[in-house]
C-alpha cells in the first residue's frame, strides 16, 4: 500500500504542467523525426530502384512534410502558453486553494488592516485535510500555514465534517493529524473556535463550492483509487444550496444599479487613461492600413467603444461613417445593408435580395465609407451568413471596416474564406474599461428583472384595450394567479377561456375571441403554446407578483 501510494504521489505531485508538456512535445518530436527518417530512407531506396522523375512526382505533395519543418516563429518566449488558457483543470483540491493562500500574506493595504488576522483565519478553506499521509503536501502546507489561515481552514473543516455525514471518521482523523503536523498556535486557536462557531458556520457555507469537490479528491487520495473515468464523475461539481435570497437585498434594480455604477469612480483611472491615450496614437496607422484594404480588428479586455468613438471623432470627421452596435440584441444584418443602400447611397430602387443589394452597393459606392462595428461577434452578427455578408462588405474597395471583438471564442466564427475577405490587422487595445453599454442587454441573475417596467407597460397596453378585451385579459390573469402555486400548471386552455368569456357575455364566437387574442399576442401580453395533447395553452408571461400588483391596480381604479 505504501509503495503504491508513493508511486501515485509521484504522478500527481511532482510533475508540473510544463514538464508534462515538454515531455510530450519531445516525445512527439522524436517520433516525427523517426517517421521522417523512415520516410527518407524509404525514399532513398526507391530512388535507387526507380528513375528520378518518379521520385519527384511522389515528392510533390508531401514535400513540406518530409522536411520535418516545424513552426518556430509562430511560438515565442513571450507568448501566453496555451495550456494555461485551455488546459483542463481537474478539480484538484490543491488547485482550488492556491489562489487563496497567498492572498492574505500579501495584503499590505491599509484598508486591509481592519480585517484582523482572526477574521482572515476564518475565511480559509480546509487545505490541511490533505496533509495526512502526504509528506510532500504537509511540508507545503506548513509553509503556508505560517499565516493564521491554517486555523481557519481547520475550523471550517470541522464544521464541514459535522455538516456532511460522509467519511466522517476519516475526516476527523485527518483533522487531528493535520493540526499535529502544523505548529502550535493553531491548536490554541482551535480551542477558541467554539466562540466563533456561528461565524464559522456561515463562512464554511460560503466556501463550500470550493471545498466540496476537494473533499472528494481528498478521499481519493487516501484510498488511492485513481480511475480514468473518475475525472468525469468527479466533475459533478457540488455547490452549496444557498440562493441570493439570503441577502438582505437579493437583487438590485436596474436603475439603481446603473446609478450606483455611474457614481462610482473607475479604479486605476490614471492607468486606464494612459492606456487609452496610447491607443489614440495608433489612429494614424489604422487609417493607413484601412486605406490599404485591411480591416482593423480590436481586441483585448475592456470596452473598446470609447476608443472607437475617439477614432471616429478624430479621424473620420469628414467621411461617410456607419456605426453599428453589434451587441444590440435585435440588430439585423438587413438593417446594416439597408442603411448603406438607403441612407448613404440613397438608392431609389433597392433589390430585395441581400446579395444583389451588395452588388449594387459595390457598383454605386464611389466615396470611401467607414463601417465601425462595436462587437463584430455580437449575438446577432455571429451567424455564418451574417459574417459572410459583412466580410463581403469589408472586401469592397471603398468600404473600410473597423471592428472590435470581446468574446473569448470570437475568432471561431471565421473560416479562412472569411478571414481572407476581412483581411484583418489585429490590435490589442486592452483598456480595462467597464462594458457598460455592451452588458446592459444581458439578463444577469443579479439584476432584478425590472418589474416596474413590466407593470407600467402592462397597464398601458391594458388601458388601450376595449372593455371586453380587458375583461378577457382579467379572466386570464385571475386564472393564472389562482393556479400559481401549482407546479404542473402550464396555462389556460383556449376552450376554457372561451367558455368563461362566453359565460360572461364577452364574446359570442370562437372567432371573435381569437381576434382578441391576436391583439394580446401582438403586444406580447400572452404566450401561446401547444400542450402535449394538442390543445392550445395561453399564459401571461409576467411574474405572478407583478400580476398581483396589476390586478390590485386594476381593481383599484376601474
Amino acid at each position: 500500500m505504501e509503495t503504491r501510494k508513493k508511486s501515485k504521489h509521484v504522478e500527481v505531485q511532482f510533475v508540473s504542467n510544463q514538464d508534462v508538456g515538454r515531455e510530450i512535445i519531445s516525445i512527439k518530436d522524436t517520433k516525427v523525426k523517426k517517421i521522417g527518417n523512415a520516410l527518407q530512407r524509404r525514399r532513398k531506396r526507391k530512388q535507387c530502384k526507380s528513375s528520378d522523375s518518379d521520385e519527384e512526382v511522389d515528392d510533390l505533395p508531401c514535400k513540406d512534410l518530409d522536411t520535418n519543418e516545424r513552426p518556430t516563429a509562430l511560438f515565442e518566449e513571450g507568448d501566453v502558453p496555451g495550456q494555461q488558457m485551455f488546459g483542463f483543470q481537474t478539480t484538484k483540491g490543491k488547485r482550488a486553494l492556491t489562489p487563496r493562500t497567498p492572498r492574505t500574506p500579501k495584503t499590505p493595504q491599509p484598508e486591509k488592516v481592519n480585517g484582523t488576522p482572526q477574521s482572515r483565519k476564518v475565511k480559509g478553506t480546509p487545505q490541511s485535510r490533505k496533509v495526512n499521509g502526504r509528506p510532500r503536501a504537509s511540508s507545503h502546507d506548513t509553509g503556508t500555514a505560517k499565516t493564521p489561515y491554517s486555523l481557519r481552514r481547520r475550523l471550517k473543516k470541522q464544521i464541514a465534517k459535522t455538516a456532511s455525514q460522509a467519511t466522517d471518521g476519516y475526516l476527523s482523523d485527518s483533522d487531528f493529524s493535520a493540526s499535529n503536523s502544523e505548529y502550535m498556535p493553531s491548536d490554541t486557536d482551535r480551542s477558541s473556535s467554539s466562540e466563533d462557531e456561528s461565524v464559522e458556520d456561515k463562512d464554511e457555507t460560503m466556501k463550500e463550492p470550493e471545498y466540496q469537490p476537494r473533499r472528494k479528491q481528498g478521499h481519493q487520495e487516501i484510498e488511492y483509487v485513481l480511475e480514468a473515468d473518475e475525472f468525469f464523475t468527479s466533475q459533478k461539481s457540488v455547490t452549496s444550496d444557498h440562493t441570493l435570497s439570503r441577502l438582505q437585498q437579493p437583487r438590485l434594480a436596474e436603475k439603481q444599479l446603473q446609478q450606483l455604477l455611474g457614481d462610482m469612480t473607475l479604479s486605476h483611472k490614471q492607468a486606464v487613461y494612459n492606456l487609452c491615450a496610447e491607443h489614440t496614437q495608433l489612429f494614424a496607422k489604422w487609417m493607413f492600413s484601412l486605406r490599404e484594404q485591411y480591416s482593423v480588428l480590436l481586441y483585448g479586455l475592456g470596452s473598446k467603444r470609447h476608443t472607437l468613438h475617439q477614432f471616429r471623432t478624430k479621424m473620420l470627421q469628414d467621411q461617410l461613417v456607419l456605426e453599428v452596435n453589434g451587441f444590440f440584441p435585435s440588430l439585423t444584418i438587413k438593417e446594416i445593408v439597408d442603411s448603406i443602400a438607403d441612407d448613404l447611397l440613397e438608392l431609389s430602387e433597392r433589390p430585395g435580395g441581400m446579395l444583389e443589394c451588395l452588388d449594387i452597393i459595390e457598383q454605386q459606392l464611389s466615396s470611401e465609407l467607414f463601417i465601425i462595428i462595436h462587437n463584430l461577434d455580437g449575438p446577432m452578427l455571429q451567424s455564418n451568413k451574417n459574417q459572410d455578408i459583412i466580410a463581403r462588405l469589408a472586401k469592397m474597395e471603398h468600404i473600410h471596416l473597423v471592428a472590435s471583438i470581446d468574446h473569448i471564442n470570437a475568432p471561431l466564427i471565421w473560416d479562412h474564406a472569411k478571414l481572407s475577405r476581412y483581411n484583418f490587422v489585429w490590435w490589442d487595445v486592452t483598456s480595462l474599461q467597464p462594458y457598460t453599454g455592451e452588458t446592459q442587454f444581458e439578463n444577469s441573475l443579479l439584476v432584478q428583472r425590472s418589474g416596474g417596467l413590466a407593470l407600467s407597460s402592462l397597464s398601458n397596453v391594458f388601458h388601450s384595450l376595449t372593455t371586453n378585451a380587458r375583461s378577457i385579459f382579467i379572466i386570464m390573469v385571475r386564472h393564472q394567479l389562482k393556479n400559481q402555486k401549482d407546479p404542473t400548471y402550464l396555462g389556460l386552455q383556449f376552450k376554457d377561456l372561451y367558455w368563461s368569456a362566453r359565460e360572461a357575455l364577452l364574446v359570442s364566437s370562437d372567432i371573435a375571441l381569437r381576434a382578441q387574442l391576436t391583439e394580446f399576442l401582438d403586444h406580447k401580453l400572452v404566450h401561446k403554446r401547444r400542450s402535449p395533447d394538442g390543445s392550445e395553452l395561453l399564459q401571461v408571461p409576467v411574474d405572478s407578483t407583478v400580476l398581483q400588483h396589476f390586478l390590485e391596480q386594476v381593481e383599484g381604479d376601474p
Binding site: K44, R103, K236, L301, L446
Partner: protein, 560 residues
Amino acid sequence: MNYNKVQRDDDLEETVKDNIKKNQYNFLTLSAWYKEQLRSKSPKKKSKNKPALEMDKDAALVVIIPNVEGFSPHILQNFILIASGYINSLPLVFVFGVATAVCALHRSLPYHVSSKLCNEVFHSQPSTAYLNQVLEKVVLTSTCPFQLDDKTFKLLTDIFLFYDLSVYGFIQHYKYCMMEHFFNCDHNVLCCSISELSQNIKSLSKEQLEELRQLPSFRRYVDTLPKKEKAPLLLDDHHFKEVLEELMTELHGYLLNLHTYLRCLHTLTASLPKSPLGKQLREVYNMAICCDISESPQFRECFQLLGFQSREELLDKLGKVLGFLESASSNMSVKVSHLKDVQEELSKYYTSIANMGIEATEQPLKSPSKIDIGENINRYQLKEKLLELSRKQKPLSAYEETRKNLLDYLAGSVFPQFLVPPTNVPFNEVFFFNNVARVKRHIVGTPRAAIHMALNNPHYYLECKCCKLDKTSSIIPSMPDICIVYKLHLECGRLINMYDWLQAFLAIVNPSELGEEQRDVAPEIQARFTRAVAELQFLGFIKPSKRKTDHVTRLTWGAS
C-alpha cells in the same frame, strides 16, 4: 430550381434583364439566348464562351461551379439532370472546383446523375508550389529592394505552411510588413530601385540624414574607419550623402550577389539526399540571412555530398549555375565585376569536366592489386593490414581531381565571400525589415491571450504599483473587480453558486471584522460584483444555468 440555376449564370442576366422577369428564367430561354448568340456571331463573345474551348463549330457554354462542396447536392443533381436534357441544343461544359478530393463530387452525385457527365480530372498544384513561385520570381530577387529578415520571413512562411496555406494571405502579410517598414520611417525612402537612388538621396532632409546616421549598422561601420574619416562623415551632410550613395550602391550589389549565389547554392544542393540546406530556395535564403551559411554544418555536409556526385549530375548543375550567373551579369543594374570572374572560372571547370569524356571518368576497374599476404598470418594481422591498405589514398582520377578543385573553389572562396548575412553590411536596415515583434501581433491576433493576461495579471497592462503580483494566481483587493471575480471563478467547478461567489468577493474587497457571512451588502459593492459578473458573461466565461437556482455555468476549463 430554375432560380438557382439562373443565379449562377448571372452573366446572362444583362442581356435578358429587360424583357424577362427572374422567375421566368428557364432552360428554354437560355437555349434561345444561346442560339441568338451563335447567330449574331459577335466577335466579342461572352466571357463564358471561351474560344479556346470551341467544340466543332459551336462554342461550348461553360458553367463554372466553384467549391462544389458548398452546393446543396440536391440542387446540383437536378441541375445536371435538367441540363442533360438540353445537351443537344446547348453544348454545356461544367467546370467543377473541388477543394478537397474528387470523391466529394462522387459523393454528392449519385450514379444516375454522374452517368450523365463525362468526367475528366485535372489536378492543380499544391499551394506551396505557388508560394515558392511567388517567392522565387518576385520576393527573393535582387530587383526587389525590400527584404525581410530571417525572423519575419520565417514567421510568414510558418503562417503559410502551418496555418492557412493561402498565398493571398502571405502576400497580404508581406504587404503589411512593407507598410510597417515605410510607415513613419522617412529615411526608408532609400529602399528603392537603384535608378531612383540618387534622386531620393538628394531629397533627404537633415533629420532623415541624422536618422540614417543613427542606424546601428552604420555606427558599426563608422567605428571601423580610421579617426580622420569619422568626423566629416558625422558632421558634413554633403560628404555623408556621397558616402551614402556609394554605400547604398554597394548594398544593391550585395543584394544581387546574395540572390544570385543563393540560387546557385540552391541548385547545387537542393537535390542532394536529405537536402541538408532545404529543398526550397526560401529555406536556403532563410539560413543565409540569419547566419553565416558557409560556416554552418549543413553547408559542409552538402559539400561533402557534392563530393560524391557523378559527372553528369555535376555537369547538369554547373550548367544551371552558369545560366544564373549569365542572366545576372547580363541584366544587372549594378556593376559587379567579380560576377564575371566567377563565371569565367566556373565555365573553365565546366568545359574541362565536359571534355573529360567517358573514359576519363569511369576508370577501368583495376583488378585489385595483389596484396602480398604472407603465408602465416593470423586474423589480427590480416585486419591490420587491410586497415592500412584502406587508409592509403587511392590516386584520384582526373574527374575526381577537377571535382575536388571545383568544390574547393566554390566552398572556399565563392560562397563565403558573397553569402554573408546582411547584418554586417552598412545600412542593411534600410532594405531589410527587421522588426518581427512589431508586426507579429497584428498579423496573428491573440485575443484570448490578451484577455487571459489582462484578467490574470492586470499589472501587465495597467503598470500600477498596487497590482504587482509575484504569483499569477494570487488575488489582491486593489485589482479591477473583473479580475478578482474571474480569479475566484477559476477556483470553482462546473457550476458556480452566485451567493458564495459574492461572499468570496466580499471577503476580498470588503473583509468584515470577523469574516462572517455578510448578508447585508453595501449596494455599491453588490453593484460592482454584478457588473463584473455581467462582464464575464459577456466575455463568454460563464452563462446562467437553469440546473440550480442562482447558479451559473462555467464555460472554460482554463487553469489559472
